[in-house]
Structures are given as C-alpha cells and as structure tokens.
C-alpha cells in the first residue's frame, strides 16, 4: 500500500479503495489536459509526472503523491495539464464513486475534509514562497531595466542649427534596441546611431549594452584616450592639411569593423547580432557619411514628404567575421529630417494582428511638417491609435535629427 493511503483514516482508505481503478500511461502520454472536465483524482503508484501549462512546468510529482484533486473533487475544468515523465502506474479515484462511498462512512467524510484542508494549506505555502521568488526576480529585472536605461544617452547633443529627438519603448522590461547621438570633437562630426539586437528580453539587453559600448568607445576613441583635451566638446583637434572627410570615413569603418569582429570572434557561438545604422553628420554642411549594417532604411523627409532612403550598405554586425561594409553619403538640407527607426515601428500590431506597415509610416511621413520631436510624437501617437492597446511584440525605437531652415 502506498504511503498516502496508509496516512488516511481507515474508513476513508476503504472509500478510496472502493472508488479506485488502476490505470497505466506510457512515457510522454498525457494523463489529462488543462481545460478537460475533472472527474477523478490520482495517486501515483509508480513513476513520475510533470504538472504543466504548455512549456511552463509547475511541479513534478513521484510515488505516493496525489494530483488532480482540485478539479477532480470539485467537478470543474482541469487548471493544468499532467504528463507522464516515465512509465506510469496510477490509482484513479472516481469522484462519483468516492462521494458515494463516503456518504455511508461519517469518519471518511471527516477524513476527506481534513485531507483537503491539509493539502490546501500546503498549496498556499507553496504559492506564497513562489510569489516571493517571483517578486525577487521582478526586482532583479527592474534593476536591470534601470541600468540599461543608463546605456541610452542622458541628453542629446545640442548642435547649433539642428534639433535631435529620440524615443525608446521596450516590449518587455528590458530591450535589445538602442539609439545614441554624440559629438566626435576630434573630427568635428556628430554621430547618430540606432541599433536593434536580434531577439528580445534579457539576452538581447545584455548584447545591447555590449554593442552600444563598443560603438561609442571606438567612434570616440580619440576622446577617451585623450580625455584632458577632448572632454570639452567645444575643442577640436584637426591638424592643418588633414582631410577631415577621410578621417570621418576611417572612424566609421573602424567603428563597425571593430564592433563586428569583436562580437563575432568573442561571442560568435551565441549567434547574436545587431542591425546598426551610424551616420557622421557634418553640422557645417549637412553632409552625412554613413554605414547601414542591415538596418531598416532611414528616411530623409523634406517639405514635400519623403525625399530619399538610406539603404543597407552591408550585413548585420556581430556574426560574420571580416564582413565588409561600404560607406555611403547623404545630405540633410535645410528643413529636412533624418528619421531612423527600429522594425518595431512598421511591425507594431493592432488588436486584430495587422501590422502598422511601411506603407502607413511612409504615408505619415509624406504628410508631415514639423520638427524632430513632433515627428516622433506623431509616429508614436499614430502607432498607439492603430494598436488600440494591443501588447507590442517588439521594442519601438526612433531617432530623428532635423536641420533648421536658415
């Protein structure tokens, strides 16, 4: 006799035995599914089961343990699924038969109530302990979120004649997207960066901090290696006769090559990559030199709508060692806006599962007049209206830079 039956009052044990039948399940076979009607409870005679909701394992039970009593005695739907993890032998206690047997055995009824109360109290203890664990995990994630926010710029650089605005919205607590904007005083350029690490959640967030740091450290290496002079963004160090444009190109190439090869060589086994767009803007002329490493094409928007896009010039960063990225150029004229965004924008979904789409974004850009912050606000409002509160599956990130007129 198993330990559970032995622990019962003799009259209740008798009632259980009257209502019991022996059933067997093969490894991997389901005893019942969540949502099935509950008609019986089970005692494990041999083997082990997994109590789960889809892939989420709630508990594992072995010999002498009982499951299925909540819905089994209450007669309502199963709240979780149970699957055999090994060859399984169960005692199946039919609800109707048990209730019938208990009616003529007053001691059994008392015993059954005592058993259920004890089990309920054990369940409450387990839930309390689970909810504490969950709270601790949530707190850790919240700390992660705060630290990650520190990997976005505190403030965007102020450049005479330009306005820059950014927006970052994580699909989960932490995210794989990032944007950045910073001066490179040694060459008199402003870097505008947007990146999107594949996947979401904690894994993507860890890589986001790595990609963002490598890009910023490399692009500003002269500043970090010569802090005393370069910490003041007003200072520039351009030797006479130096070709600034070729220095800007060198900075771009080095930044993407170092980031790409570092991650591919050091972390290649994880297959984690990022799409990155990085432009070096010459504020004097509005000329941009850029690399687009597998990122959604940024737009240049003028007073007549979309003027041009800046398509990819090479593959994503972080998995193809030695990958080549071409450098391309663009021009930001007076009154024009450079809009960069992550794929969470066109792929934002509505309640019915429809995507916001490139088409809606383009239509909106074609009708837009205003500054960088207004453009981002219009896009975010438009997505919110479209989504009608639907949960978003991807991070939504935007960075816009407008050249003022005159």
């Amino acid at each position: 006799m198993n330990a559970f039956l032995e622990s019962l009052h003799p009259e209740l044990r008798e009632a259980f035995e009257l209502a019991a039948s022996r059933v067997r399940f093969a490894k991997g076979q389901a005893v019942f599914h969540r949502g099935d009607p509950g008609q019986a409870l089970y005692i494990i005679e041999k083997g082990r089961v997994r109590i789960h909701d889809g892939d989420l394992v709630l508990n594992r039970l072995g010999e002498g343990e009982v499951f299925g009593e909540i819905a089994g005695l209450g007669g309502h739907e199963r709240t979780a699924s149970v699957t055999a993890e090994q060859e399984l032998e169960l005692l199946r206690i039919e609800r109707e038969a048990l209730l019938g047997a208990v009616q003529t055995r007053p001691e059994a009824l008392q015993g059954l109530m005592k058993m259920l109360c004890e089990r309920e109290s054990g369940l409450a203890d387990r839930m309390t302990s689970r909810s504490w664990q969950l709270r601790a995990a949530e707190q850790e994630l919240e700390i992660g979120r705060r630290i990650q926010t520190g990997f976005l710029p505190d403030s965007l650089p102020e450049i005479r004649g330009y306005k820059i605005a950014g927006h970052f919205q994580a699909a989960r607590v932490v995210a794989g997207d990032f944007y950045d904007a910073f001066h490179i005083p040694s060459i008199g350029r402003v870097a505008l960066v947007i990146g999107d690490v594949c996947d979401k959640g904690v894994g993507a967030a860890l890589f986001m901090t790595l990609f963002r740091s490598l890009i910023r450290a490399t692009a500003q290496s002269r500043r970090f290696m010569n802090w005393a002079f370069d910490h003041n963004p007003a200072n520039t160090r351009i030797a006479e006769g130096q070709d600034i444009e070729s220095l800007a190109r060198e900075t771009l190439t080095n930044t993407i090559a170092l980031t790409n090869n570092y991650v591919a060589i050091t972390h290649g086994k994880t297959s984690m990559f990022a799409s990155v767009f990085i432009a070096l803007l010459d504020p004097e002329t509005g000329a941009m030199t850029y690399i687009n490493a597998g990122h959604e094409e940024p737009y240049i928007v003028g007073d007549k709508g979309i003027k041009t896009t800046l398509p990819p010039t090479g593959p994503v960063v972080g998995i193809f060692p030695g990958a080549k990225h071409d450098i391309a150029t663009g021009m930001l004229g007076p009154g024009e806006i450079l809009l960069t965004y992550s794929d969470g924008v066109p792929e934002a979904t509505s309640q019915s599962g429809e995507q916001f789409s490139d088409r809606r974004l383009r239509d909106l850009l074609d009708d837009f007049r205003g500054d960088a912050a207004e453009l981002i606000e219009v896009i975010i409002n438009s997505i919110d209206e479209f989504a009608e509160g639907a949960q978003q599956h991807d991070d939504i990130t935007l960075l816009a830079c407008r050249r003022e007129t005159g």
Binding site: F273, A293, H295, E296, P312, T349
Partner: protein, 122 residues
C-alpha cells in the same frame, strides 16, 4: 500573420545525407527554439546537410534569423567562413526574402528556387 510554426522534415534520397525542413507560419522570437530543436534532432539523427524550405514562412523576425545562424554553426562547428556550406535556403516567401536581403544574410546563405539545385549546391 500566424502565431505558430509548423515544421515538416523529410530525408532526401541521394549520396549526401540531406534533410529538408519545410517551415510554415511565423519564424520569430516565439518559435525560434522550435526550429533550433527540430534542426538539432535532425542533425543528431545523422543529417549532415539541411535545406530550409521557407516558401510557407509568412513572417521572419531577426530572432528567427539568429536561429538559422545558430543552425549553420551547429552543422559546421569548426568553420567560421563567410558562407554557409551545409545549409541552403529554398524559395523564401517575399516577406522572408526581404528580411534576408535587409539583414545581409543573402551574402552568407545561398538561396535557391528549386530543390535539386539547392541539393546540388551542397
């Protein structure tokens, strides 16, 4: 856009040990593990080359691309070449083909229009 992924596996006749994985549905953050698991099972079962038939993929996310790259790593663990020698892609849907192109995966993984051609390229 569907929320799930179906994967059919078939072993091809011939000298090489090639298996074709036919993907239908959405390959994204929610289904990437399913593809990785199925590929691992197929490789553990002896497959040395894989063809991914992506004609039925109506959504391909970057997480799905990560899974495809992870599978190429598993097929050729020692190799870190710029081209995937043991995995080819067959007839991606327009949505999937666009993602291959944007992320630059088309210069890493060959894309073929018919199965015989894909197998011949392995």
């Amino acid at each position: 856009m569907s929320d799930n992924l179906q994967i059919g596996v078939s072993r091809e006749e011939g000298d090489k040990n090639v298996s074709v994985l036919r993907l239908t549905g959405s390959l994204d953050a929610n289904t990437q593990n399913q593809l990785e698991d199925k590929a691992k099972e197929t490789i553990d079962g002896g497959a040395e080359y894989l063809v991914l038939d992506m004609s039925g993929v109506d959504y391909l996310g970057s997480a799905g691309m990560r899974a495809i790259h992870a599978i190429t790593n598993q097929l050729s663990p020692e190799e870190s070449s710029m081209r995937s020698a043991r995995l080819k892609v067959l007839s991606p849907s327009p949505a999937a083909a666009k993602v291959f192109k944007t992320l630059g995966f088309d210069s890493f993984i060959d894309i073929h229009d018919n199965l015989d051609e894909a197998i011949a390229a392995l």
